[in-house]
Amino acid sequence: MKVTFDSQALEINPSGDGYIVMLDDKTISVQVVRADAERGQMDLLIDGRRVTAYVSTDITKRWVTVNGQTMMLTKTSDAKRGVRHDYAGGLTAPMPGQVRSVSVRAGDAVKKGQTLLTIEAMKMEIRIQALKDGKIKAVYVSQGETVEREQILIEVEE
């Protein structure tokens, strides 16, 4: 399995009761000693060294704490352009912000990957794209409106 976080690419493959991680030119052996999903905690043996890591997942983001340092990484390998968010059949805002443009109306037919609206948040423009071909069932926001994180923006039906 190949994944990329920010610009760091790595490959993970099962091996025995653990995994072999290939990262840059290094080969690292990793074993999961214990995983507690509720706490997001993993006790790992990385090349024989005990490491405790906490990981939380927020769509493409990974919040990771190791040795008291917290970092936010973005998984980039399976979300190349724009950011995709789906929730309960609707497309939701990934972060609080302001709707910059809405390019579709209820009833419009849309193609997978088509940009439906854009949100501006913290000086970044985020494109909300269709996850599949379909028809716009409802648009809940309009240009200039302030939206909260995870607020449903648009619903698409097949």
Partner: protein, 500 residues
Amino acid sequence: MFNKILIANRGEIAIRIMRACRELGIKTVAVYSEADKNSLHVQFADEAILLGAPAPKDSYLHIDKIIAAAKKTKAEAIHPGYGFLSENASFAQEVESAKLIFIGPSADSIRAMGDKAESKARMKQAGVPTVLGFEGLESEKDFKKAAEEIGYPVLVKAAAGGGGKGMRVVNAGRELSEAIESARREALNAFGDERLLIEKYLTDAHHIEIQVFGDRQGNLIHLFERECSVQRRHQKIIEETPSPLLTPKLRKEMGQAAVAAAKAVHYFNAGTVEFIFDPKTSDYYFLEMNTRLQVEHPITELVAGIDLVQWQIRVAAGENFPFKQSDFIQRGHAIECRVYAEDPANGFLPSTGKLLQYIEPRGPGIRVDSGFAAGSEVTHFYDPLLAKLIVHAENREAAVHKMQQALREFVTHGVVTNIDFMQAVLAHDDFAKGKVTTRWVEKALESNSLLFNMQERASVLHVIAAALADVAFAGTKSQPAISNETDPFSPWKQMNNYRN
């Protein structure tokens, strides 16, 4: 003693006060805004009353609604916490008029200390050292004359002020008239009062404050100092006690000055007298008095060995404060770090969102006062304080090490916090030497001598952990349950031990 108390606040301080109430066998009433309906302070209370919309003026600052809530629930007293209405003399007055007890000083004491010009005049009268300056000036000519007499740099500040509003540092004569004009405008907007005072501005000073405590019978003592010089934008982030700068002689002198200051306004209950301390000369000057419980009160509690909030309640109920000055000593060293949801790399701007993970450190000598749990929402309506992490150890060095370790074990995901930034401060040589002044953070940031940018230190271990998480947690519930229930009294939401 009271049977029931209403807490007119939110977040960690509301919970802190409710804990004291429980220990005293008193029932608690929480008040909350629509934005806080799922908050821990609401779940922690015996009863909760919705005040209104999220904006403070419609909820936590709405005096009539709060007093009505107390009446409705038959609470006998109101604890205001800090911030919001805690230093509002009219609120204290109205609480008393409604035949309820205000847990704090008298409205007169609040009013006298709330006015910078009046309090300074009273302090001069009481023999408390004040910064060289003038009150009651009006014309620009008078200000100019005063500034020249004092010597630049000077500080122009609103008489009715607080929180850094209506305050300007003036470095030279040519900046004066514009500073007066803008400070006046700001003061008028913020406080409806354009009176200004002018005083000497100390450039490299420490902020050292003295905790005082008294009862309605006139017993009043001090509970030593807190060193609060690590600040950004006039807001404290790390506090400690004892101060590494004070000698026993200075401590005694400042303690006596604080007691004199408090007695000058017939003070009772918990209060804090703030001083500016010049490390070059060891001179100290009265800055202001905070007529309420402070955010950083826990470090005093640990070192002096007293529960300040319980005693606030007891003296409000009319009990005597039975201790003498000589009953207290400072035992060991305590430090508080304020964990804020804010991004130090981005001008300390608040960071909002859902707490995807939240794990507090534990262990001997570690105390966490917080109002959040995994799944909590950090909104932009209120102060972004997530938690206060407080440690107590034998001496300063041991306390710093304990704090560094505790911060390492504090896991917060979903919002950016200032934890890395505080680690950088604690590890800095200037902090170790007790050389941090109130402008230190600003200067350290300008000169890039603090390294804390979390994105610059992505380690191989982080990347491996991120990649493995998908595999290791596969098939299990990877996120804490986030409650969407709207009824704050649902039995499913009673979380007596809310730490995950």
